[in-house]
Symmetry: C2
Subunit: 202 residues, 2 copies
């Protein structure tokens, strides 16, 4: 039993949700293809097929749009990562599989979009005020997931630093991958790191 | 015995060298403070106190200027790193000292200037054509120095990947440091990694 008001409200909410998602995905595509400087609200609304009015209603400024976009896609990719991780087989090659998964995550287009934002935020105080807390939250969440994936016991001295090093490594590999396809080299490095982790975390 | 021509040529060459260095250092300062998008040839010539004409004579385009600047400063900092490294004491804390030195190197303003260039090059084919080879050359040089500093024997299986991982780690730490001062966390991670290297390279 739904009321008439309920029946109209739900589709409207759904339309809004879909439109926001289209705007945010178009923004990430734009950041990936054209960089922060080449991204504009006009370009994003054209690309998403959303009117300027509707776009400005939801995201009044470019900064609102890019921060929401990277947040949205990071959450979406984070959830995908967690789901894929849950399906990983146990066994002697588990750590290697975790490392490959993290390496792929940090070599994805979303990493490049986030990188555009971090670098722009470095010299833009207003953007930094929004990107700083987002970055901290994402960092904590990724750390928590990595601890879980590796089955690491952070109460053991040195383990926390090793998990942090693992994430700094894949961040560095992500950066190395931005201007050249680095997949082959990355694979060998991640395998070697997995060996180290298996010994150190045993 | 110098000829009259020789006597005038040397000061002219010296003046040119000093002017070029002033332009390149002003360019790096500009990249660090204002980012790639906020850097212009006009701003750089003002900042360096060099006429527009002279600046355009030496570096006709913004791309010429930024690539030469990052190359110049990377070489200068690389030489400083090699000199400081040569002065490191041997002994049980040697690896730790090497890691701190590499970590500081990748957390320096020159890293931020280079980062601005890499990220801009990702979406600018013309810039990429110049930055790609520079990045490869600098990468090889840093790798070679790191092998030497760590006394690593790359003929042993897995050692090369461990050296590469070390450099990807400090690159990731450099990126983490761009929007927050990460020195304390970085120090603990580098110490932990030094322990791993001491075991793995023994």
């Amino acid at each position: 039993m739904t009321t008439a008001a309920g029946a109209t409200r739900v589709p409207q909410e759904e339309r809004t949700r879909v439109m926001r998602a289209r705007l945010l995905e178009a923004t990430v595509d734009c950041l990936v293809e054209r960089g922060f400087a080449g991204t504009s609200t006009t370009l994003v609304s054209e690309r998403a097929g959303v009117s300027r009015g509707a776009q400005l209603h939801h995201f009044p400024t470019k900064n609102d749009l890019v921060v929401a976009a990277v947040e949205h896609l990071t959450e979406k990719r984070g959830a995908e990562l967690a789901a894929a991780a849950a399906a990983l087989p146990d066994g002697p090659r588990h750590t290697r599989a975790v490392m490959q998964m993290l390496g792929d995550h940090f070599a994805s287009p979303v990493f490049n979009a986030a990188l555009e934002l971090w670098v722009a935020a470095r010299t833009d105080a207003q953007l930094l005020a929004a990107v700083g807390p987002l970055e901290q939250r994402v960092g904590r969440e990724t750390h928590r997931l990595t601890v879980e994936l590796l089955g690491a016991d952070e109460s053991v001295p040195g383990v926390r630093e090793l998990v942090q090093a693992t994430l700094d490594l894949v961040r560095g590999l992500g950066l190395a991958n931005t201007i050249t396809d680095d997949a082959h080299r990355r694979g060998r490095i991640l395998d070697r790191w997995a060996d180290v982790l298996d010994k150190e975390l045993a």
